[in-house]
């Protein structure tokens, strides 16, 4: 199959478009998550409705370079308004975000309501997107017909990729130590504005595919999930992109199976990945944490037993204190806990039992010494 046929195949064009939205979003979203500014992507993606409406009313286009510039400006405007409101000292930054984007969004929706009914763009589409119809609208490029959204998203993805590769060092420094970045003269503020402008550009390129609200899922959720899987920044970005691509493919088939919104389905699959990462991440997952806690508890149990026996060894009450029944009482353990800890100590050969009382083995004594007198370690 030729590339043109491939890109015009309906399922493939939809999945590729979704994957491009996810990759373009994750490239930027990683840094937003690290900067703790995730909700700015939500604010921006709502606000661009205003930009889309204004540009449509003036230039009668819903895509293309003018729309892109309009979006970038709207994004900058949003952040500028939020920062101005915050700097008056009368509104906290979260409340400022919560004021600015609903206002711009409302203005945009009303403009669409009044002037743009039943034409190329309406409030409903802007909100929810129509990724299922990307194959309908094609443009000629590279000597073939390519779905317009796919082409736009491919360009935006390349731009975002170039931005991240070019400024990787600066973005990294900005994310982890903004103060140092400023001290070294890297202008983290300017870079942050650039990041947010690209976020708005990506949002406007993606809105006719996935809508402005689901866009947030493609920007925030894969990086958040990836952040739970690894500590290395390049890997966070890589995993986020891979999860985004997988979400687009699985989401498409899930949507087909249930006969529901494709964009919504793709966004929901990113949620599955996040949930899986929360539960199953080897280092930060809930399951791993529970296993670690359990191991610690067991290790502690064995250590408590050998230390207890060792500290009474050779004393008058040794006989008394070495009976298994005493453990429960003196170490304040439940019966089950005492039983389990004792069993494991016996299994590990730390103690031995002669039917009457417990004896420390050489190995157990060594462990107890190591705990109590670590300075004697060879």
């Amino acid at each position: 199959m030729s590339l043109e046929a491939l890109l015009n195949d309906i399922p493939i064009s939809i999945m590729v478009t979704g994957a491009l939205v996810a990759v373009a979003g994750s490239l930027l979203g990683t840094f937003l998550v690290l900067r703790r500014a995730s909700m700015l992507s939500d604010a921006i993606s709502h606000s661009i409705v205003f930009g889309i409406a204004v540009v449509y009313l003036i230039f009668h286009v819903v895509s293309g370079p003018v729309q892109i510039i309009g979006a970038a400006l709207t994004g900058v405007l949003t952040v500028f308004l939020v920062q101005s409101l915050t700097s008056t000292g009368r509104v906290k930054s979260d409340a400022a975000i919560g004021l600015v984007f609903p206002a711009l969004f409302s203005a945009g929706v009303l403009l669409l309501n009044i002037y743009a009914r039943d034409v190329h763009v309406d409030a409903h589409t802007v909100l929810l997107g129509e990724i299922g119809f990307v194959w309908l609208d094609t443009v000629a490029a590279f000597g073939m017909q390519i779905p317009r959204s796919l082409l736009t998203m491919a360009v935006v993805t390349l731009v975002n990729l170039a931005f991240v590769l070019l400024f990787f060092k600066e973005l990294k420094l900005m994310s982890f130590d903004s103060g140092l970045a400023r001290a070294l003269g890297f202008l983290p503020g300017v870079l942050f504005y650039a990041l947010l402008s690209l976020t708005s550009v990506t949002a406007v390129a993606a809105f006719d595919a996935v809508g402005v609200i689901l866009f947030v899922a493609f920007v925030i959720v894969p990086p958040a999930a990836a952040y739970l899987l690894t500590d290395r920044l390049p890997l966070v970005i890589l995993y986020a992109c891979l999860m985004g691509i997988a979400a687009s493919i699985l989401g498409y088939w899930q949507a087909v199976a249930w006969n529901v919104s494709i964009g919504g389905s793709m966004a929901l699959v990113t949620g599955y990945f996040l949930l899986a990462a929360v539960l199953l991440s080897p280092r930060y997952g809930l399951v791993a944490a529970a296993v670690r806690r359990r191991q610690n508890r067991r290790r502690l149990g064995k250590r408590a037993i050998v230390v207890h026996l060792y500290s009474h060894e050779g004393l008058d009450d040794e006989e008394q204190e070495s009976r298994p029944q005493v453990l429960q009482e003196h170490l304040r353990w439940s019966e089950a806990q005492a039983h389990r800890s004792l069993r494991m100590s016996l299994d590990d050969g730390l103690v031995s039992f002669d039917g009457q009382r417990l004896h420390l083995t050489d190995k157990g004594r060594e462990l107890a010494r190591d705990i109590l007198e670590p300075w004697q370690r060879a």
Binding site: L99, P102, S106, V109, L214, Y227, W258, S265
Partner: protein
């Protein structure tokens, strides 16, 4: 149609009642959300009610407000729990947790929404109105439920006013007093979710969060006490609700939510600029006046210093020199001081430009100020 006729219209009455209930409940609870720094939690919760709305629709097969409200409340609360799970048990921060909850729940809502549409059992128009809000969709039969929920909400807030206030301003202290802080915080979050649900039909899931934030921010400008803030926030909320939904009901099918939100935003802007004490305009005017006074005092002191250096109280000083000393034009300030009788124009070497000198009163005023360590009487 004149106003009285318009207001006696059956639909308009329903809308007005709904708008007042919306404004009062979200205005009151918004105060807590804003003061506790939870403005964006409201945003996440309001988006997250969508699956509940769709599910309520799906289960009853019609636009049954009771089922929709219950569904919205459940899914909003689940989203709040999800945020809590992420923040407490993972290394994700609040912002990423909120963004994830918001978008994942909204995605689920969109899926259910399209499922309802393709099942074809019910008209999607009723459901769509929950996205942006629709005033005309409020029925007389909805009002008892909305009123009941509002009363419940206000009763809860009144009953636990002291406790809610304490966990808002000083949760540590509340803990040392032995208050069940976690329970109270959960209750407050549930109450915020309830306030969101009450307004859904008018404002819609996308914009409902603004009705928590805007009235409270506006109210903060007018009151320094939480009681006053809550009352004025409820008033602002109701005002925005009434104005926005009336325009929508009278107009040509404009979405109600955006109109209400823009009205609330206008109230915020007016409050930020013009509220007594905290108004930005008054602060600007104060700063400008202080700047002016400071400039004139410095001018007077510069002239005093030169007069002392030349051992001549009436020493004539070139205006250009004063301009250089002040780093800006001085004509206006000199004229002001002249009107106050502290300086006067002095004829001296006209080819070198204007000259000025201190009057007796000006010299005394400047000396009092300089010798008093800057504590002397104010000039002009």
């Amino acid at each position: 149609m004149d106003l009285a006729q318009f207001l006696s219209d059956f639909t308009v009455q329903n809308v007005l009642a709904g708008a007042i209930l919306l404004g009062v409940s979200s205005g009151t609870l918004g105060v807590f959300a804003v003061l506790r720094g939870q403005s964006l939690l409201g945003d996440a919760l309001s988006h997250a009610t969508l699956p509940g709305v769709a599910l309520g629709f799906l289960l009853t097969g019609t636009r049954n407000l009771g089922a929709i409200t219950a569904g919205a409340l459940v899914s909003g609360s689940l989203a709040a729990l999800f945020v809590l799970l992420l923040v407490r048990n993972t290394r994700l921060k609040n912002d990423a947790a909120l963004g994830s909850a918001l978008s994942i729940f909204f995605a689920l809502g969109v899926i259910l929404l399209t499922y309802v549409q393709q099942s074809g059992a019910s008209s999607q128009a009723g459901l769509d109105s929950f996205l942006f809000g629709q005033a005309a969709a409020i029925l007389r039969s909805d009002l008892p439920l909305l009123a009941g929920l509002t009363v419940l909400l206000l009763a809860l807030v009144l009953l636990l006013w002291k406790e809610f206030k304490l966990i808002t301003f000083d949760p540590q202290f509340a803990r040392t007093l032995g208050l069940p802080v976690a329970t109270l915080e959960t209750l407050l979050t549930m109450a915020i979710a309830l306030a969101i649900v009450i307004g859904l039909q008018l404002v819609g899931v996308v914009l409902m969060s603004a009705m928590l934030v805007a009235p409270a921010v506006a109210a903060r400008q007018w009151s320094r006490r939480m009681e006053g803030m809550a009352v004025s926030s409820a008033l602002f909320g109701a005002t925005a609700g009434v104005i926005g939904s009336l325009i929508s009901a009278a107009g040509r099918g404009l979405s109600t939510g955006p109109l209400i939100v823009l009205t609330a935003t206008a109230l915020v802007i007016v409050s930020l600029l013009f509220a007594p004490e905290r108004g930005i305009v008054w602060a600007w005017l104060r700063a400008a006046r202080q700047g002016r006074e400071f400039r004139r005092r410095r001018l007077l002191e510069t002239m005093f210093g030169l007069a002392v250096d030349h051992e001549d109280p009436g020493y004539r000083i070139e205006e250009g020199m004063l301009r250089a000393a002040q780093g800006r034009g001085v004509r206006g300030d000199l004229r002001e001081l002249e009107r106050a009788g502290l300086v006067e124009e002095a004829r001296h070497m006209p080819e070198e430009g204007n000259h000025w000198r201190l009057t007796g009163a000006g010299f005394e005023s400047a000396r009092a100020h300089v010798e008093g360590g800057g504590q002397g009487e104010e000039p002009a």
